[in-house]
Amino acid sequence: MNCDSTDPGDGVSRRAVLAAGATGLVLPTSGCVDRVESAVDQEMDRLALSITTVPADGDREAVRIARELEANLEDVGVDASIDMRSRSEFLETILIDRDFDLYVGRHPAGFDPDFLYEALHSAYANEAGWQNPFGFANIPFDDALEAQRRADGDEREAIVADLLETLAEEKPFDPICFPEEHRVARTDRFEGWSADHPESRHGYLGLEPAENVDRLRVLVTDSRISRNLNPLSATLRERGSTIDLVYDSLATEHDGELVPWLAEDVTLERADADDDHVARARITLREDCRFHDDEPVRAEDVAFTYRFLEDTSLGRAEFESPPPRYRGHATAVDTVDVEDDRELRLGFAAGVEAARRALTVPILPAHRWRDQIRSRAEDTTSFTATQGEWGLVTMDNVPPVGSGPFRFESNSEREHLTLERFDDHFTRREDVDLPAVGVEQLQFGIDPGSASSIERVANDGADFTASMLEAHALDSVPDEPDVDHLAAPSRTFYHVGYNTRAEPFSNPHARRIVSRLLDPSWIVDAIFDGHATPTAAPLPEEWVPDELGWDGQDPATPFFGSDGDLDVETARAALESAGYQYDDQGRLRL
């Protein structure tokens, strides 16, 4: 067909076509004009996706995964781009604003599979915070999340296995790999380094300083620690971080076991079948514990904490305002009854296993936080506490007042956070069978680079690198007698998160196909230099059913291709069979 409309032989002059187009009279004979128009439409309808991630300064491996995904998306005809945000802005975009298509990041996970309840339950799909950032809503899946929470033992294991299989089908997020956590420590100034996670409550306990050493010099690559110590902040930390050093919890997790902490004794048992609760606990607090402002720690503070973690406005605001963190922990607790200053009874909506996690929230001093809420409620005539965003959950909380083994000493933004030993802490008592803090001062210095952090420990400019060292820098760890290289597997996992609230990822087929554009085995080899374990499930091996075990590829959503090389034709065919269409230039249409 002759498509040159300027050709006089066509019978329609160019000017006439233009005039007709301008007056809205579309001539049925002017097929060329139609084609031009549809080409414009196609450009507008092209599927465009923005991958949110942090810059290489924040997480070099995440950027590399994001770029791999970007390239592969482009190959299958998507107009892909990378939206790069600083660490805190990244979390703000994903967790609070929920303004993303898909993202690449690392999930802090948790020691019990119940963290999935918080991460995926549809009840939280509209809340801001770590609770369900994907907007995922699936009724049978909700039922499974609730069932695993109530169950214990083998029954729970079976439910979790089913849950993981549904998760692998539905893909609200796509787990990629568990990184290894690498750190370096100097052994000439401190003894007793172990692979314990340094941000856990046991992290800095039991370290023996050499003579005349009164300060532990720790490096972190993340400067957020020097600006914000609010335990409720969603965006200024991923894991518990220093919060666990400044605040105590009733119990704490160590090597997978629950260890009584602020509680001298925890009796946690499944309730009878006819009970209102699934499990019950009797808690006795340690005697004479104090907050850093010398106020006593009472059972009342524990009750306050659980009440507060349900609604940070304590019922004063028009709508409830649950915090953007610890959401799953708090909802596992149904009732808290204070018996006296040291005795409490807790009733759980969870079984014994899932309830353990609820006992690890930081215990906040009621007198301080009540004042905070009161002053904020009085400041404004109509008190609204926007969920996840209001002042109380975003304030810097400097100085923090907890009851933990360390108390705040000083900070300087982007430079350091200095904590000092809290001498009244129970771990320092003779009759308490827990390791104590040896050193007087703990200083976190900010050093943005993994390579420069390693160099400083090697040059005796610091004692320890607390942040996970990036895989690319591990070659520079020196082989010196005074420098220990500590390595441990991580619970945290790299993943691609999808915004299931909007097109195209409201469609599980789209999520599955995009998940098949990444090759975790190749990513682990090429990007992590082998310092990671590829995975198809977001939980450690003991929870993963055989069907989901890693056998060189993801059994549920295997990579389209091999060795990181995408088989573009197969991927495009999969998209077409899922109902997507390509234009004549191979671009994917929305």
């Binding site: 923005s50 070099r60 770029r67 010099r217 400019g461 690319h472």
Partner: protein, 287 residues
Amino acid sequence: MYAEVLTQVLTQVAAVVAFLLVVSVAAFVGRERLVATVREWRPRVRASAPAFAVLLVVLWLNRVMRQAGPGISERIGVHMTETFYDLEGEFVLVFQSIATGELTAYFSFIYVYGYAFLLIFPGIAYFALSDTRAFRRLLTAYSLNYVIGLAFYLLVIAYGPRNVMPEELTVTMLYDNSPEYQHLTREVNRNTNVFPSLHTSLAATVGIFAYETRSSYPKWFPIAVVLAVSVALSTMYLGIHWAIDVVAGLALAVGSVWLSNVLVGRRSIAELRRDVARRLPDRDDRE
């Protein structure tokens, strides 16, 4: 402990730059001009004081914005990393194909030491001229570069190539090879301050001034050009800036030099005041 590393790097930079300055002053400025400067420094300082004061205020502002900038940027800034990357793609990676150990060492040296020297030396050289205009214009042009650059930093939030393409840039990336410099640049900059490249604009500013003053300092002109070009290239070679940032830096330099020419009079404010003071009694006489 943070300060220790910084002090160490700073001392090292100060020592090297001081050495370069002494050699250059001897080579380019010469004994005669120095003697004259020692004799006439008071009026010259008086003449240049306002321009100097403005520069100090601007540098102080830069310091303040380092803390306050991110908050303001968050509200009014536009995320541009994607845009820059879409526009120029992997252009800066062309330098990776010519990368060698020597070249990386050269550009790292230029980026830190060469740059510091390039900015300070003209200050001394122009102060040593009996006509203070070049000196006043230079200080004003520096101030303009900073002020306009800072405004862009607030408006444009973008990460440089090293943050976007870390794997391709590992060979030359400044902070991987010389992590100690990160402490230095962190003191004066943030990783989202990439558009425009102030390294480029200030170096180019010095280059243009060297051209304009080539009759006074003929031997400095070629040296300044080589250094300025090297600084601009180093920002891309080391993966710190996009080519777009460098182009914008050049434009900023041209604009700042031109504006400094418009703003700074042939005669200093001190001289003008003296003239006015002299003329006023004249008028009184007439009345």
